[in-house]
Symmetry: C2
Amino acid sequence: MAATPIPVNAIVKRSYAAFEQYRNTTLAGRAAFLERIAVELEAIAVVLVETAAAETHLADARLRGELQRTQWQLYSYGQACAEGSWLDIRIDRPLEQPQGAPVEPSWKVSERKQDLRKMLVPLGPVVVFGASNFPFAYSTAGGDTACALAAGCPVIVKAHPAHAATSRLVAAAVERAAVACGLPANVFLHVEGGLEEGQALVLHPLTRAVGFTGSLEGGRALFDLAQQRPEPIPVFAEMGSVNPVFLLPEYTKQNASALAKQYVQSITASAGQFCTNPGLLIGVESPELQHFQKLLAHEMAAIPPAEMLHPGIATAFQHKRADALDVDGVEVAGTLSCPVGRNESIPTLATVSGEDFLCNPLLQEEVFGPYSLLVRCSDHAQVLEVARSLKGQLTTTLMATPGDLRSFAALQPLLRERCGRFVCNSVPTGVEVAPAMMHGGPYPATTDSRFTAVGADGIRRFARPLCYQNWDDDLMPPELQKDNPLGLLRMVNGEWTRAGF
Amino acid sequence: MAATPIPVNAIVKRSYAAFEQYRNTTLAGRAAFLERIAVELEAIAVVLVETAAAETHLADARLRGELQRTQWQLYSYGQACAEGSWLDIRIDRPLEQPQGAPVEPSWKVSERKQDLRKMLVPLGPVVVFGASNFPFAYSTAGGDTACALAAGCPVIVKAHPAHAATSRLVAAAVERAAVACGLPANVFLHVEGGLEEGQALVLHPLTRAVGFTGSLEGGRALFDLAQQRPEPIPVFAEMGSVNPVFLLPEYTKQNASALAKQYVQSITASAGQFCTNPGLLIGVESPELQHFQKLLAHEMAAIPPAEMLHPGIATAFQHKRADALDVDGVEVAGTLSCPVGRNESIPTLATVSGEDFLCNPLLQEEVFGPYSLLVRCSDHAQVLEVARSLKGQLTTTLMATPGDLRSFAALQPLLRERCGRFVCNSVPTGVEVAPAMMHGGPYPATTDSRFTAVGADGIRRFARPLCYQNWDDDLMPPELQKDNPLGLLRMVNGEWTRAGF
């Protein structure tokens, strides 16, 4: 029996109708809604973790942690929404012409006759495509959904088929929260379907933005579709990266053993299924680097295989790993010798010379899973050449002593230029949820380096400025009123203040 | 003799090399540079206005005013650059685990182990395409250039052929300012050429963003080109709009004569060659509206023809005007009866019923010049229907008494949703340069409703967040250092402060 076709048109229309109410919800009302979603998730935490574990093969403890992170996102983005500085409020009042002698030069002043008051307003219905590797934090009620709801946008989630049951449970929790907060139920809609439904959602004229977390292929396809619409819309697609880590000589020499233990963990945790997984390690050929390679290879070979998220991910891992290992000059340094199951990962450390790396752009492609490639550069100059060859990344990392940093001074600007987050003496995995986090970066890490997927600044992806000119005070939203009834931080006549005027 | 081909590749490479120095310029250094450009423009103000007048046929007084506006933009964006709040600085310090009883629920806190410090950094070389209708303010050293330079990006201006001599003079002034400030000369590059050079600039891999002001056709073509690159880049194209003005019944009745005088001025100033020109007036059919129409038609017929910016603009005006007047039901209400010159404008008020307007999407297209279409709606419901049919706009305007606003309450959200600036009882022309200005709006007014072309917030079009994780304080830029040596407003551990930590 054929499945009932998903009525995409009706769904987006319902979402837009909800938008017409939801955009008027107060900041405090949105914060309460987001907190309530966290409460509803807590109420079903046990079944959520159980269901997600069965669907994703991720460990219970990891899933419990991820759920808590998701709740923190909802709660903290809601608090940031209510705090209101994200609204970028600017108010310019008509200015009296200055009395007395004119200012010189005259272009250092400007006539101001209009009453101008500007704040961010929501874009409209946002379609969210969740990631398979984070069934909670980057999925149904994950970061994109939390940001869009905080911005005042209704959300349509296209459920990830790899954790459909989990997604359904989360969606029901969000819907209960909407009802409990007296919001229109259609402020959140949950769509199951395939490629065709996803494309129809992106192409619908009332869809106003898209959030996506996943592969480069998937993200780019949706981006292209959205940009080719008669009315293009913003797509924020976070598409992962290889997160290069530069192991500088002195640091590697002094910390070989600790470094190997730190990185085997970062490369293989959750079967390496993180978009900030360090897929590329770069060092200068030396006995010390060889020693480190041996230690890390040894650690990697001791990691048992793990069932991956779903058969598609496992197959892609096996193919991409095989393709990478097939490249001229690439050798396996450390991997399992035991047989692995059909959908299991094979933790692998490969290695290649800097010269061969530079000749083979394929080696810059992400092998999503517990895999990392150690690039052995012939010298300092080749390290810089490798850095220059790198595409856009979510993160770049330097493992370096103060002396290393001085001798590789030219490396820093090259790496900063190519990433959203620049890490020193730590691992790129472990994306903390805080205002200062940047989870984004130059293409192909994301489709727009000007925004972040993590942290409350991600709300701005889904909002636009609107300026009220010459409106009576009581006809404007409270955020812009004279008395500043919400006590927001605003820029008034160029000065920051919480006072009225 | 064939012109020497423009070496686009060499130019963008030089720009990128300049970027590697210029991005390190201090905020104060950028402000000094922008101010110096204003000073250099002042030194050649007379010849600039003379040259621009000859090239554009705009009046001297208007051009002098536009030059002053351009200088104010440079100066005030420079001041905003130095003030630094646009950097969106967020700092999150590692947190001690709270002592004593754990917080309940546990998801209301988050572990924070990392030192995270985030600020905006420049994107890289920005290609600017200036507008023909603002030879100073939206051209060579106009708003896009000022914003990009403030962000720390070098600029490559593709000169507008309609005011090439003016553009050359301005470019030389910018170059003198760069030398005077000890900046690399290539921080600003000026390219003359045609379509092919423009496309090559947008497609060059080292080009990182595009600013454009002009027609929908031109802006969309560059946008498409940039989005189809292997690495898509942001394009902010401001493409004009018809700026609908709703003339509500009571207001029209009470102010018919003043309204006609106010609007004839807004429609015809500078031969109507403004992107905020009110090209659409909407009212409810009534004797009062007919009276207003007569008054405005009378005023329009008294406006002499004026030479337009260039033959291309004049031809486009004549064709688009003729196409609009050809639409079923459209009638001329007021226009010139005298003969006009080949490149001259023909001030025109046309009129159409709401019903015919709704059937003909062509009537929503901008007729760039002194032209406006008065839409006579049959009733209140049809006014709302017209509002719902409108595409994205730079501005929408309501001319209304308090009583009108109450009886047309449903109109306001429809108009807010469709514009970047929402005006009450004023004219949309006259875009003040102030932080609260929004010059942008939903497509097709611009290609990204989340940004503005006017006001210092426009700097953000050309910058992206970069997060430093776990770096020693002295290895980070002063903006992010512990002691806050620049005294910037920063969000530290979620609190706004100018204090260090």
